[in-house]
């Protein structure tokens, strides 16, 4: 494998898959940062396990996205050799891991989103490969969602300090959920071809489920604002370059390195 950057096709189907695969990949990378650093051993193991599931899902989706490319890119080329603007993850997953409150809230937001997305893909996608990947991933997403939601409730109803941190996490992260549900031509094409739903279609159920979690936790969702991040369109936050530098260092320095 060469260390030169690869570029990907602007074809909407490829872009739709990259949004899914990259979101799982970058969240997996962020959760991996907790390994050896989580507040208790059980959560260290939990976060590493969830990271493993997410990276596994990303591998399957990126492998499939690469196979649709005329250049036939493999999962490693896609994961390690793209330039920042060619990553299609939502901005929410690239934000720094923050404290444990930020981590569990983000996990709850993303796992809820992924469970709803995989469910639609499993049952409605016209693409057999994507539906098959979804059939496996939905079982994992559901377990992640339950675990993360339990923590949001526990911290929201915990001590004065844990509650203060949960309130701050909601204040920091909630605005980034708007991007998940903002459609564009990629969504329209996916819906038209039957590949997958417009992501906006997942919004009502996501709001219902996240609303129930916040309510049990004694937290309140901020009123919708005008802020709209655009990571899935390639316009990332300042945090993206740093995480990619860490992820890509080895493959850029030792092209094709394996161990």
């Amino acid at each position: 494998m060469d260390s030169a950057s690869v570029t990907v096709s602007p074809a909407p189907a490829v872009q739709y898959l990259l949004r899914i695969g990259d979101t799982a990949l970058i969240l997996g990378q962020r959760l991996g940062e907790w390994t050896g650093h989580a507040p208790v051993l059980e959560e260290d193991i939990a976060l590493a396990n969830m990271a493993l599931d997410l990276v596994g899902q990303a591998r399957a989706v990126l492998t499939y996205a690469g196979s649709l490319e005329s250049q036939n890119l493999d999962e490693d080329q896609l994961a390690f050799l793209r330039e920042e603007r060619d990553y299609r993850n939502v901005t929410l997953v690239e934000l720094p891991r923050g404290d444990f409150a930020v981590t569990v809230l983000r996990n709850a937001m993303l796992a809820t989103f992924f469970r709803l997305l995989w469910q639609r893909l499993l049952h409605d996608s016209s693409d057999a490969e994507l539906a098959a990947i979804a059939g496996k991933a939905i079982k994992e997403a559901r377990y992640h969602q339950q675990h993360a939601a339990d923590w949001v409730v526990r911290l929201g109803q915990g001590t004065e300090e844990s509650r203060r941190r949960m309130v701050a996490a909601v204040d920091q992260l909630w605005r980034y959920s708007a991007e998940l549900f903002s459609d564009d031509a990629v969504d329209e094409q996916a819906a038209a071809s039957g590949l997958g739903p417009r992501w906006s279609e997942l919004k009502p159920q996501w709001e219902t489920e996240m609303g129930a979690v916040l309510q049990h936790a004694g937290l309140e969702a901020p009123a919708p604002g005008k802020f709209l991040s655009a990571g899935k369109r390639g316009q990332h936050s300042e945090h993206m370059g740093y995480i990619l530098a860490e992820m890509q260092y080895l493959q850029r320095t030792y092209p094709g390195g394996e161990w």
Binding site: L52, D53, Q57, I133, G135, Q146, H147, E209
Partner: protein, 167 residues
């Protein structure tokens, strides 16, 4: 060797290849071998992954091919079939017994709950202790030493044990 005979022998070999992470179970017990197909020139072993990120998947493929070669059944290749997704319901009765003997509580039946919202306050179904059989147990950790297990402890005999999560 006739095709039928080759396929039957391959299944027997797969019953001796152990899961690297839960070595109490053979791949056949685990239910991840979906098919064995004789193509004349080679055998095709169709496997399905347990978890998306299970790091054992590649080791398993290699040990399958090594075992078949050792029994004179090469050439063979392993292929991946994702759908239908693996479920712990496919673990054989013998596999469940072996898990219990190994000290891992086997999974209960899987509930069709993928589309049902999670419950913020839920009651856990009691998992029977694989050591003393008591239902007086509690979950210590939702995740365990491998992706497929959670950690529990028995409040009767006080032993910790792992539970194979139903998925």
């Amino acid at each position: 060797m006739a095709a039928e005979e080759r396929v039957r022998r391959a299944w027997d070999v797969l019953d001796t290849v152990l899961d690297p992470e839960v070595p109490a179970l053979s791949l056949r017990d685990l239910g991840i071998v979906r098919d064995v197909i004789d193509h004349g020139a080679e055998l095709e072993i169709v496997l399905t992954p347990t978890y998306s990120g299970c790091p054992a998947t590649e080791v398993i493929e290699r040990s399958v091919l090594d075992a078949l070669q050792a029994e004179g059944l090469a050439p063979a290749r392993a292929t991946l079939r994702r759908a239908p997704a693996w479920t712990t319901d496919w673990i054989s009765d013998a596999g469940r017994r072996k898990l219990r003997e190994y000290g891992i509580a086997p999974p209960g039946p899987v509930m069709p709950d993928e589309g049902v919202p999670i419950r913020v306050f839920r009651r856990e179904t009691a998992v029977a202790c694989p050591h003393c059989g008591s239902l007086h147990t509690e979950k210590l950790s939702a995740f365990g030493s491998t992706a497929c297990k959670a950690l529990h402890r028995c409040l009767s005999c006080r032993e910790p044990f792992e539970h194979f999560k139903p998925i």
